[in-house]
């Protein structure tokens, strides 16, 4: 998708039925609370990543030319329907994008429904399980979780791999990706509490952990992060999603596209971007393996 293409207006500012980010949980997601949850992983926005707004369109053209948008670093959608796992699906997109960016592999068309890239199997791409975080964030299963909860969990103990992988890595511990629909690249299964996770699961999860998390101090800094190839996860209107590509009309930013956890790409208008950025985050780096072909050692 080119960032200067017209977007389908029906997919802009879509408000969904409750998907796991209710107002009472969202209220706790202040930047300070989320930064505290990340602990040592918390980082200010680096000034080196700043791009003057007048240069945003040129940077977008650069990203179009080289396929270096955040969406170009993920090779799948996930599907949470009809669960309340949205903050964890947004987290997994952010995590996988950061990991693939470090791995140095680009998926030129981004995620595509019911499609698997051949290069996913040879590049060490790993698909993580949102459920492995959500099960601890909300043991009651329904009602959702906020960003503070899921970031604290992920930064503390990591994320388990999904049972479905693009390559057989021989993981000792995996978990179904969701109790929702899933898809051909995401397993689904019954609810499981943390105490029923596979024995010793922590040994595998620690290999899939955010190391540095950037917190933008303005909507402009959030846009700069997307322009630099970092997903920015935000919660708004009862749903949490990851911003992944800036969309322009002429040289003016109009909206930001995000791979929604319903096998589809949608868009937040600039007005929504300006109001929703607070409490957002971008995973800059994640744990790196000694051998990319053996992701958990």
């Amino acid at each position: 998708m080119n960032s200067f293409d017209e977007v389908d207006p029906k997919e802009i500012d879509v408000i969904l039925p409750p998907s796991g980010y209710p107002d009472e949980l969202a209220a706790e997601d202040t930047t300070d609370n989320i930064r505290g949850a990340c602990g040592d992983a918390s980082r200010d926005f680096p000034t080196a990543l700043w791009i003057e707004p007048k240069d945003w369109a040129d940077k977008a053209r650069d990203n179009d030319k080289y396929h270096t948008w955040p969406v170009n670093y993920i090779d799948r959608y996930t599907n949470q329907n009809p669960t309340h796992e949205c903050t964890c699906h947004s987290l997994r997109t952010n995590f996988e994008g950061a990991r693939n960016r470090q791995r140095g592999v680009i998926f030129k068309d981004g995620p595509k429904k019911n499609f698997r890239y051949d290069v996913s199997a040879t590049s060490g791409s790993v698909w993580v399980s949102p459920l492995s975080v959500y099960a601890e964030a909300n043991p009651r299963q329904w009602g959702g979780a906020n960003v503070r909860q899921v970031m604290e969990i992920a930064c503390r103990r990591g994320i388990l791999p999904d049972k479905i992988q693009p390559h057989e890595y021989g993981f000792k511990h995996t978990l179904q990706g969701t109790t929702g629909s899933g898809n051909s690249n995401q397993s689904h299964g019954p609810w499981v509490s943390v105490r029923n996770f596979p024995a010793g699961w922590e040994e595998t999860a620690r290999h899939f952990k955010p190391l540095e998390v950037i917190f933008p101090g303005s909507w402009e800094e959030a846009v700069c992060l997307v322009l630099n190839g970092f997903f920015v996860s935000v919660g708004r209107n009862g749903h949490a999603i990851p911003w992944g590509q800036c969309m322009f009309s002429g040289n003016s930013l109009q909206s930001i596209a995000y791979p929604d956890s319903y096998d589809v790409t949608r868009y937040d208008s600039l007005r929504t971007v300006k109001s929703a950025w607070s409490g957002s985050f971008a995973i800059a780096t994640v744990t790196v393996p000694d051998d990319w072909s053996k992701p958990a050692g």
Partner: protein
Amino acid sequence: MIRNALVSLTVLAAATSPAVRVPPGPPQVITPPAPVAQPVLAPPTEPMPDDIPSPSALELVVTVSGEVVDDPVVSLPVGSLAVITLTGSAVTTTGAATVALNRETKNLDVTQNGHHVAFSSPSIADGVFLFTVGINNTDPAGAPHIAQRWIVTGAGPRPPPDDPLAPVTPNGPVGKITSVTYVYEKSDTKVPAAVQSGIDRLNVEKKVLATLYEHDSKDGTGEVPDQYKAPLAAAKEAGLPALVAMSGDKVAKVIPAPTTVEQVMGVVP
């Protein structure tokens, strides 16, 4: 178009002081802090002389206090002013040159009437810097024109390489390239999209393991991953960011601050 158009840049050696981070915004003229009085940088108002010999496509002519310095390593005492002039057939009246001073990378606009200082950098204290200029080849199949000079400011140490005009090959002849790593510091480096693309193409087209490594990253046990120990050490010696090509466990080549697809792809024959 004027052949061998000249462009001048000025690099000022400041008094010894901690490096300061320049806030985002338009490029600034470098002004060193007190107590050492320093001249304020300004672009030359007259064209530079065009009688400087320029047999190759891109050369750097360095003058310090008006004297041409032929030494590959330029010593720049505190308070002195170095003028770096780009010469050669690759330098045209319009177009862009990429300038890198260690980790600082900006595009330099080449104009007919002189130069435009388009980068801002920390105050230059005692240290050693690799000043690199790159200009894209007009032949799409050709390699970019690159010229480099070492600059030692104040009481900084001599740089380790004996031949500063070539990419560092510390271990001499090596075998096949087995991995390539772009080592960088996240807080100081905006990874160029072209570099990211080049890394991807090395993976896909040349089947070489090519990755990016942020210098602070650890594995799941909290240690520096084994595969990155040697590239990290080599990159730190050269200055971040750097592209490190490995042949097995030996460092084959180090390219400081690459910015183009061609520079990245070029490390693997």
